[in-house]
Symmetry: C2
Subunit: 457 residues, 2 copies
């Protein structure tokens, strides 16, 4: 492919160019991610144990460190066609504004009603639930992006969808709740009196506004207690990274088509679903020694699991009912400071990404939220897209790298993931506009206290 081929503002793949399979990075990793452990026995979780919580096919995907390619089922390909391909955008206007010789590209996942990349895995998980003949699925949601995505997916396959939404979000983000209701989901504020764990917590802390950990515990309890239901999760898990590889696959096909090779690949990282998806095929080449890329995970300074966490086994939920994973973690008791408005607030990081980071295949940086919102606003004004706070972590890093190029004169090609839009995050933007947004970096003492909650494995 000629390097001289004119690069359009936006590259959309044709239907016949779209990826037909998901790529499993684990197949090419020498050091596989550590297995999930049963918190009771401390033994690796078996497929049978996991199948009480997850669909059978998803259990297989979760445990499969060997199969390189998974064919995407036709029904999922059909759904993908409704909102994919997502555009790979050349940020000509941002480059001009920054006066940088760098070439900046971003893969924009926000052009669907869930507002983010979460739909890529939601539809897959709903599909396998349907295939297994299940009645429905349960999940938790914080801000609501994952809950929205899952509602859309369940509506498409006519599955029942029960979402436990952290009570404070349920009350403060009624619009997200209404989007989920539009798609027929039942949305319950958590903690609730519909579960044992919810009732216990309500009795102990009557005024609590809820937490993600509690919502997970409720959703898992309901899945375990209702025949024909399973629990689903939107990030962290290996299966989720597998589904999200569609982001990177599309990106790579589009770049190859125009002879573009990224020097730097940047993704924001909370649980790792977007980062793991975006980098997948590039990381594959790196793991196989076929190409090299500088890969950077960006996380909030207020929730710095990769940059300041420990690589250890930890609980995936604060309720400690889920399997334990080996990952970079701040401890399952970690809660970001109340002023944190930028998302990406999970205490740990995908096992797969944690292992890759540990083995030196990628870097990590943390950024403070006021600088993130500055980047968000600068980006919105020239590129015309109002980014989600999460995505704006990657924008911040991409701008910083482009400004370095301006100093050095290097014409690097920078790729970043723009995971979603910020339409439901205007409260945070308002804080920023009103000068009320502050930064907080946890002290070493605070982190140590949180590390003390790590299980002794």
């Amino acid at each position: 492919m000629s390097e001289a081929k004119k690069i359009p503002y936006k590259i959309y793949l044709e239907e016949n160019e779209m990826p037909k399979y998901w790529y499993n990075m684990r197949a090419d990793m020498k050091n596989k991610p550590a297995p999930l452990l049963n918190p009771g026995t401390l033994q690796p979780m078996t497929a049978q144990e996991l199948s009480a919580v997850f669909c059978d096919e998803l259990v297989k995907q979760e445990l499969d460190n060997d199969t390189r390619e998974y064919s995407i089922p036709q029904e999922i390909l059909d759904f993908y066609k409704m909102y994919r391909p997502s555009p790979l955008v050349r940020a000509y206007c941002l480059e001009k504004k920054l006066q940088t010789p760098a070439k900046i590209y971003y893969k924009f996942e926000g052009n669907n009603t869930s507002g983010s990349h979460k739909l890529n895995s939601a539809i897959a998980q709903a599909y396998y639930a349907k295939q297994q003949g299940l009645k429905g699925v349960t999940t938790e949601t914080g801000a609501g992006q994952w809950g929205t995505a899952l509602s859309m997916a369940c509506s498409y396959f006519e599955l029942d969808c029960k979402v436990y939404m952290v009570k404070v979000s349920y009350e403060q983000k009624p619009f997200r709740r209404e989007v989920m209701r539009t798609y027929g989901a039942s949305v319950v504020p958590s903690p609730s009196d519909t579960t044992e764990v919810g009732r216990k917590i309500l009795a102990k802390y009557p005024g609590t506004t809820g937490s993600l950990g509690c919502a997970i515990s409720e959703a898992v309890e309901v899945a375990l207690g209702n025949p024909g239901y399973r629990y689903v999760l939107g990030s962290v898990l290996n299966q989720v990274l597998l589904h999200q590889s569609v982001i990177g696959m599309e990106t790579k096909i589009a770049m190859d088509k125009y002879g573009i090779k990224p020097d730097i690949i940047i993704g924001c990282a909370g649980g790792g679903s977007n980062l793991g998806g975006l980098i997948a095929p590039f990381m594959g080449e790196k793991l196989r020694g076929e190409a090299d890329y500088q890969i950077i995970a960006i996380e909030p300074a207020s929730c710095p699991s990769l940059t300041r966490g420990k690589f250890a086994y930890d609980f995936c939920d604060t309720g400690m009912v889920c399997p334990m994973a080996k990952m970079y973690t701040l401890g399952s008791g970690f809660i970001p400071a109340p002023n944190h408005a930028g998302g990406l607030r999970y205490h740990g990081m995908s096992s797969t990404l944690s292992q890759l980071y540990h083995d030196g295949y990628m870097e990590a940086r943390s950024v403070e939220q006021t600088k993130v919102f500055q980047a968000a606003e600068e980006f919105a004004r020239v590129e015309g897209i109002l980014p989600a706070p999460e995505s704006s972590h990657a924008i911040r890093a991409a701008i910083d790298e482009a400004l370095k190029c301006k100093e050095t004169g290097e014409e690097k090609t920078i790729l970043f993931g723009l995971t979603g839009t910020g339409y439901f995050d205007m409260v945070a933007y308002e804080k920023f506009h009103d000068g009320l947004m502050t930064d907080y970096i946890p002290t070493d003492e605070e982190l140590q206290k949180s590390f003390d909650t790590l299980p002794k494995v």
Copy 2:
């Protein structure tokens, strides 16, 4: 082009296929739209009179009934590349759900941060303001779509942007306001003490929550009183329909490419900006006798300007400071019932569309809002896009036509305009979900009372 060419889910034009000019329907109309009148002299507004309010180039476009094609300036084409082409979507999933032999297509304008087609004209109006060396522009906004679009356009060209936002919306839709602030606009709740008309109204009605008419009057006053400023408007005007023709041009190019000819074209209609843009090139063929299409305007039963209004000269604003236009109107004093949540609440209709309707080139229908929201939800669940209430009027009609085809077995091709997304309209969706949404059709007596406000011209 072969009819057999496989139609993808979404058709995106390549950059080199994009329209290079706007099409002016008036050039092909035998009966031109009636001229704007000076409300003082009742004489046609001259270019000089209009140039106190509007940019010079926009005045030219407003008055030009002859030029068929306007080249789109390169700077606007560059901006269009950031969010255009918009996809022309084949609604395969909706067709399947309805089990209709009809083929349904929609042109989706919601994939940009303003959330609607309004940006197509906002960027043009900002460009001409910048070309004229102006400092800034003023406008009014109700729900905020137009204000958002204009903020984005002004940010791009570094123009000052003052938005008068109806006070009740300013307070109830803080998120829209924050999006505008993200783009650097100053947003003032109207009525305000920043203008003479605002102060008068506040003195007379201290507790008023504002109206579009008042906000227009304030925005016009500020434009007239500040050298280097002009007023801009997002619908109704001929210039706006001209810019919005880019919607129809793209649609027609995409359909021609795949050998598709629509039998029915459906657009929602408030002031007429979307409908006029979508149908432009098709109407051109119809006016020139080259092809025939069934063209249907859909309006709310609670604000039925085409279906129940009078074709007469009327004030464009309730403050009666703007020129008068000959149009289908309910009278400038008309206000939709308080339970109306579906948008499209302007009392009149574009002069150009009014003339075309009067001359029999298009039909009009009105629909009740609960049926509109039923269609919205049905569409969202199968097509994955949460539609704006405005756009859902067109969805309602498209579904109804497709169901007729199911009965008759006709394989009609239906095209409709999906103008935007409903992310900021969840209060209305909530009402609908909670069963609190009602319908209201104004009585003949109520309309007669409103017609009594028509000027005697």
